[in-house]
């Protein structure tokens, strides 16, 4: 196993390199422009636009820019944002806490809620609870987050006045009341996100447990006099976890990538919001940095999932 992990880590380097190249090429080819928000404004004439593109280094062919980017990255430098003239790493540092506080928390809540819900749904299949959970989950899949977000704002911000819908990133938590303020301002975005995460993971947990419940080993365990609870938790759950582990691992990088829509609706200055805005602005240094980190996380967490498979099912062998 140790050698396998080492080999995978070594393969990860060229993998990430290839990914970064492809990503860079896509960004270079995509028709976006740092100056598009000026529209056709005669106050920013073509000469000025050309000068700005030159000053940003956009005149070089993109393979040249890629080499320059890799070179500076090798020195630990993500570069400067075109839009704010500040180091990309500073922007990421400013945004990561907000993303973790909202998207990360939502993800954890989602996973923690989903597994028991999925289990109960499976054990008590077609019970009232199961039908309720199923309906709820499918509301989650058919109603997009932009919609739930606005619905929550109308109900809880505008009609009830319980929670603010404009996230204040300048809030510093130093006592109980400021902590409560933080809870109030993040509860709606967390709810929107956790709804979806819970629904998805619960469906997979349920489906996989249903596969295992009728199997012989479960009967054997029961016939040995084990309590139902122990049977479900120790035997069925463990054997049902492989798809769940796959999904949870696939989801972690997306946490870092942020929840673009939800961040936008509730004005949470997270990574997702930064990414989508930077794409629109053609702010390549920011976009490439985020995507590179995202790619590294994808590779690492998929490796992590592979390791977990072997723990969950010792018969799985990698060569």
């Amino acid at each position: 196993m140790g050698r396998y992990i080492l080999r995978r880590l070594l393969i990860a380097i060229p993998t990430v390199a290839v990914i970064s190249f492809v990503v860079f090429a896509i960004l270079a080819l995509a028709p976006t422009d740092p100056l598009s928000s000026f529209g056709a404004d005669p106050r920013v004439p073509p000469e000025v636009r050309a000068a700005i593109r030159t000053s940003l280094g956009l005149d070089d062919p993109w393979p040249v820019r890629y080499v320059k980017w890799v070179t500076s990255l090798a020195q630990g430098n993500f570069g400067f944002s075109f839009m704010s003239h500040s180091p990309v790493i500073d922007l990421l540092k400013q945004r990561l806490p907000n993303t973790l506080a909202v998207v990360g928390v939502a993800y954890i809540i989602g996973v923690v809620l989903a597994i028991p819900i999925g289990m109960i749904s499976a054990v008590k299949r077609y019970s009232l609870f199961d039908h309720f959970a199923t309906t709820f989950a499918f509301v989650g899949f058919s109603v997009p987050t932009f919609f739930t977000g606005i619905l929550l704002i109308i109900v809880f911000s505008i009609n009830l006045r319980w929670f603010p819908f404009i996230y204040d990133s300048t809030l510093v938590i130093h006592d109980l009341s400021s902590f409560l303020d933080q809870v109030k301002q993040s509860i709606m975005p967390i709810t929107v996100l956790a709804l979806f995460d819970t629904a998805t993971i619960a469906r997979y947990t349920r489906a996989e447990m249903l596969e295992h419940l009728p199997l012989d080993y479960v009967r054997t365990a029961r016939s040995k006099g084990l309590k139902e609870q122990a049977v479900v938790l120790q035997h069925v759950l463990r054997n049902s976890l492989i798809p769940v582990v796959t999904l949870v691992a696939l989801g972690v990088p997306t946490v870092f990538g942020g929840a673009i829509v939800t961040e936008q609706i509730f004005r949470v200055p997270g990574i997702g919001e930064l990414l989508v805005r930077s794409i629109g602005d053609g702010d390549t240094p920011v976009v490439t940095a985020i995507l590179l980190i995202f790619a590294v996380l994808v590779v690492l967490f998929n490796l992590f999932a592979d390791i977990l498979y072997a723990v969950l099912d010792p018969r799985i062998k990698y060569s």
């Binding site: 393969i11 993998t15 290839v18 990914i19 492809v22 896509i26 960004l27 080819l29 995509a30 028709p31 976006t32 077609y126 199923t134 309906t135 499918f138 899949f141 058919s142 109603v143 997009p144 932009f146 919609f147 606005i150 109308i154 505008i158 469906r203 997979y204 489906a207 996989e208 249903l210 596969e211 009728p214 199997l215 012989d216 080993y217 479960v218 009967r219 054997t220 365990a221 035997h235 054997n239 492989i242 798809p243 582990v245 796959t246 999904l247 696939l250 794409i279 976009v287 995507l291 995202f294 994808v298 590779v299 998929n302 999932a305 498979y309 099912d313 010792p314 018969r315 799985i316 990698y318």
Partner: protein, 311 residues
């Protein structure tokens, strides 16, 4: 750790090729399926929805694009059964017209994604040699920036596709292709994980020992046991695809704004939630019904095809 039980399965697997011709497998499945009441109701609902979108306009003659501001944002009435939108256009007519596209996009793009994902995942999980290259490819696709990628696709291919396949079909194929190609990766990883685990089990050994070929082992023995996450992915995916379709049009990749797909109507209605809730509720409900019924059909299918269930 409990030993996974396989005798039943193994017995079935061994028996099936010899005793039962494959037609009766499907007959069996249909018999099983019919006993699943929720699945039957759902099948009925889905058929109704398809008929509603295909044949509805033949019965309900109101046009989709008549603008009348005096009727703007009116709730359901005898004139306009489901009410009107911001420009006073009839919502029922628009939902019927747009629904064909939404349902077709939802189903076909999910079929594409599932097929791709299952094939790649099965190959990677079953053949150790292919595992690494295929999974690194999956990593690459998972890391691709979807938004700029779509812009590039439009930039490079929009006109060509329009010219090659004609406006309507070209756009449809492009949407299905894009959604399918950008969504197979989780399925591939799920299927691979199942295969890694299942291929070590006794019934696979047993099948191999009686001389079954790889292809047969994959399709007849392992795949049915890996079906449940695939079906979940598929049912969840339909809703996602219906909603994604509408967003593609915002990038200039989808149908133009005058084609009222369900996702698009829902998107347009979102800021009118407090003024004209009906506008959002009906498309939302239709998407919900579609996704839910496909889910229960999936449930029923899984039960019907379950190799462990003997009939």
């Amino acid at each position: 750790m409990a030993a996974p039980a396989t005798q039943l399965t193994t017995g079935r697997v061994l028996a099936s090729p010899i005793v039962r011709p494959s037609r009766s497998l499907w007959k069996d499945a249909w018999w099983q399926f019919r006993r699943h009441r929720l699945a039957m109701v759902s099948l009925g609902t889905l058929i109704f929805l398809i008929v509603f979108t295909l044949l509805g306009p033949l019965v309900y003659h109101t046009k989709t694009d008549i603008i009348d501001f005096t009727l703007s944002l009116k709730g359901p009435s005898s004139e306009h059964l489901l009410g009107t939108d911001d420009l006073g256009r009839d919502l029922l007519a628009r939902l019927m017209f747009g629904g064909r596209i939404s349902i077709a996009v939802g189903i076909f793009s999910v079929i594409l994604a599932i097929t791709l994902g299952t094939t790649i995942g099965a190959a990677a999980g079953f053949f150790s040699r292919l595992d690494n290259p295929l999974m690194r490819l999956t990593d690459l696709f998972l890391s691709l920036p979807v938004l700029p990628l779509l812009l590039v696709i439009i930039y490079l291919f929009r006109d060509t596709l329009r010219a090659t396949f004609g406006a309507e079909l070209g756009i449809f194929l492009m949407i299905v292709g894009v959604i399918g190609v950008l969504n197979w990766m989780p399925v591939a990883r799920l299927v691979r994980a199942q295969f890694l685990s299942l291929k070590q089990k006794e019934f696979v050994e047993a099948a191999r020992s009686v001389g079954a070929k790889n292809g047969r082992i994959i399709v007849r023995h392992i795949l049915p046991n890996a079906l449940s996450p695939i079906l979940v992915a598929a049912t969840i995916g339909v809703g996602g695809a219906i909603l994604t379709e509408s967003t593609l049009s915002f990038l200039g990749l989808g149908f133009p704004s005058d084609v009222p797909t369900w996702g698009r109507i829902l998107y347009d209605a979102r800021n009118y939630l407090d003024i004209a809730p009906h506008w959002a509720i009906f498309p939302g409900l239709l998407i919900f019904l579609t996704v839910l019924s496909i889910n229960f059909i999936g449930d029923g299918l899984r039960d019907a095809l379950d190799p462990r269930k003997t009939s």
